[in-house]
């Protein structure tokens, strides 16, 4: 198992984040998912030492953030909330500010500009950039030191679909090309689904799911629905054989069933001359699971 890059234990910020145990492993793209106001940004700010936790512990690269903040931040790049920039300076000059503060070589600036495709706009004032360009400038600043850990808070916010796709593709390449671990927050499940390898779902400040995307998908086990000519009789019959369906909407609904069990139920019904008009499987989408986990059945 790969080493944990970020590990929090019972991380708490009064009224915002409650006993959060977050674990991000090396080389992962960890999708930190949650509805707006769930506590994502507060958590990320705590990981960077911008907000002081009320309780709990944070370990990054195996070291305590409280004790080794400087060493940890030297290896961390971040983009929190909206991109930060000096509007009166050009894109290049903004990167130079970060470069000088971090004592980085000139080639990093060139490389970062190339990665985010801002070379042609390097001499334009940042205040004249479009929202997407500002976002890319923010990502370039975060990437400038080619850090071991990259923390991006909703990096595709405000971008058009093409810009979103471009940023996603860029993020996907970072662990492979530069050995980075990426912690990425978003309120968009579809976005996380496309790029993350692991996911943590936070709701009202509490972690409601953490694991691989595959383990999240495994929660999408379907339900089997039987439509019969006499549901009441069918329910009694099946109950006598140990099956307990949930009646509703003119059908019998079962939880996940093995193929063998579906065949057995069908055989029992047909043997008692109960017409089976339809057998259907309904799989829950990741979105259904997300909405269920976050308790928001309605639109986010």
């Amino acid at each position: 198992m790969r080493a944990a890059v970020i590990q929090t234990r019972k991380l708490t910020k009064k009224n915002r984040v409650h006993e959060l145990d977050l674990e991000v492993r090396e080389g992962e793209i960890y999708g930190f998912l949650g509805p707006n106001g769930a506590g994502k940004t507060t958590t990320l700010k705590m990981l960077l030492g911008l907000v002081k936790p009320s309780a709990g512990a944070i370990r990054i690269f195996g070291e305590s953030l409280g004790e080794k903040r400087s060493a940890i931040l030297r290896q961390t790049g971040s983009l929190i909330e909206s991109p930060s920039y000096y509007g009166h300076l050009t894109g290049l000059e903004n990167l130079r500010v970060v470069q000088r503060l971090r004592g980085l070589p000139d080639r990093n600036v060139e490389e970062a500009l190339r990665i985010v495709r801002l070379e042609k706009h390097r001499d334009k004032k940042a205040e004249a950039y479009s929202l997407g360009m500002k976002q890319r400038l923010g990502i370039a600043m975060a990437l400038l030191a080619f850090p071991r850990l990259l923390i991006l808070d909703e990096p595709t916010n405000g971008l058009d679909p093409a810009g979103m796709e471009e940023i996603r593709e860029l993020i996907k390449t970072l662990p492979g090309r530069y050995g980075m671990t990426v912690l990425l927050s978003s309120h968009l499940l579809a976005e996380i689904e496309q790029i993350a390898t692991s996911v943590g779902i936070i709701n009202e400040g509490r972690m409601v799911f953490q694991g691989s995307l595959d383990s999240l998908r495994s929660r999408s086990r379907g339900e089997i629905r039987f439509h019969t000519g006499d549901n009441a009789l069918a329910e009694r019959l099946l109950a006598a054989h140990g099956y307990r369906p949930v009646p509703g909407g003119g059908r019998l609904v079962f939880g996940p069933l093995a193929d063998r069990e579906v065949a057995e139920i069908n055989r029992l019904l047909v043997a008692r001359d109960i017409p089976v008009t339809r057998i259907e499987e309904r799989r829950r989408s990741l979105e259904d699971i997300f909405l269920e986990l976050t308790g928001r059945e309605r639109s986010l």
Binding site: G49, L50, E81, S84, Y86, R100
Partner: protein, 249 residues
């Protein structure tokens, strides 16, 4: 040092130096014209003390304004671009950034005061004031004005960094300018509590009113006023720094 150098880099294109020079030009033009007018009415006024006193008086109005503008321009760029958050996440101590900003603003203001001294020297020599260049007075003028300016700057920076909206910081600058201009009208006991009145109190010369006329006189260095200015600057810098550095972003 790296953080301080970066402050100079960050203020490029903010037109801070041209703005200082513009305000200084207005102030020194006012001082020189007014002084020339006095001399034309009374040739006895053609002394170094007259231009030093006139500039120190006008500094009560102009220096709080210049200080407020310089510091607000420097702090506003951090608020506007949310860069405080960026810098704090870059392993740069917020206290160091605060100190660097104060150092950078202080150096610009010192430059402004040095320009004033240079203009006074040129004006005095051009007017043929007797006694040669009063280097000691000019140095005291620079030192005294700088002490008062540092105190005003420390208060300005505290407010400008703590509040995103620069209106309050600029209002304080204007209020300071008003107090500085009208300072001679306040009783000494009240003046002591108003740092914007220190421009005159720490000047090397003063004006003593007699029954129907007045005369310029050398003003002894008031250690208590100097200590009060330095103490105000120190305390406001420390508390402002602590307040801003501890503020959650």
């Amino acid at each position: 040092m790296r953080v301080l150098k970066l402050e100079y880099y960050k203020i490029r294109r903010k037109k801070i130096v041209p703005m200082i020079l513009l305000l200084l030009a207005a102030e020194m033009l006012w001082a020189c014209m007014s002084n020339s007018l006095s001399i034309s009415r009374n040739p006895d006024q053609a002394v170094w003390a007259s231009i030093l006193f006139m500039t120190a008086s006008l500094n009560g109005l102009f220096m709080p304004l210049i200080t407020a503008i310089v510091i607000s321009r420097m702090c506003d760029m951090e608020h506007k671009g949310s860069t405080w958050k960026l810098l704090a996440a870059l392993n740069v101590g917020r206290s160091r950034l605060y100190a660097a900003k104060f150092g950078c603003a202080g150096s610009l203001l010192l430059l402004a005061i040095a320009v004033q001294a240079a203009v006074m020297a040129v004006y005095g020599l051009a007017q043929g004031f007797s006694g040669g260049l009063p280097a000691a007075w000019l140095l005291r003028f620079i030192g005294g004005t700088m002490l008062a300016t540092l105190a005003a700057a420390a208060i300005q920076q505290w407010i400008a960094m703590a509040a995103k909206n620069q209106a309050s910081a600029l209002c304080l600058g204007m209020l300071g300018g008003f107090i500085g201009l009208t300072a001679p009208l306040f009783p000494a006991g009240v003046r002591r509590w108003l740092i914007w009145s220190y421009y005159l109190d720490l000047a090397p010369v003063t004006y003593r009113y007699a029954e129907s006329a007045g005369t310029f006189a050398a003003q002894p260095w008031d250690g208590r006023i100097a200590a009060a200015a330095l103490g105000t600057a120190f305390l406001c810098f420390i508390f402002g720094n602590l307040h801003v550095a501890r503020k959650e972003i």
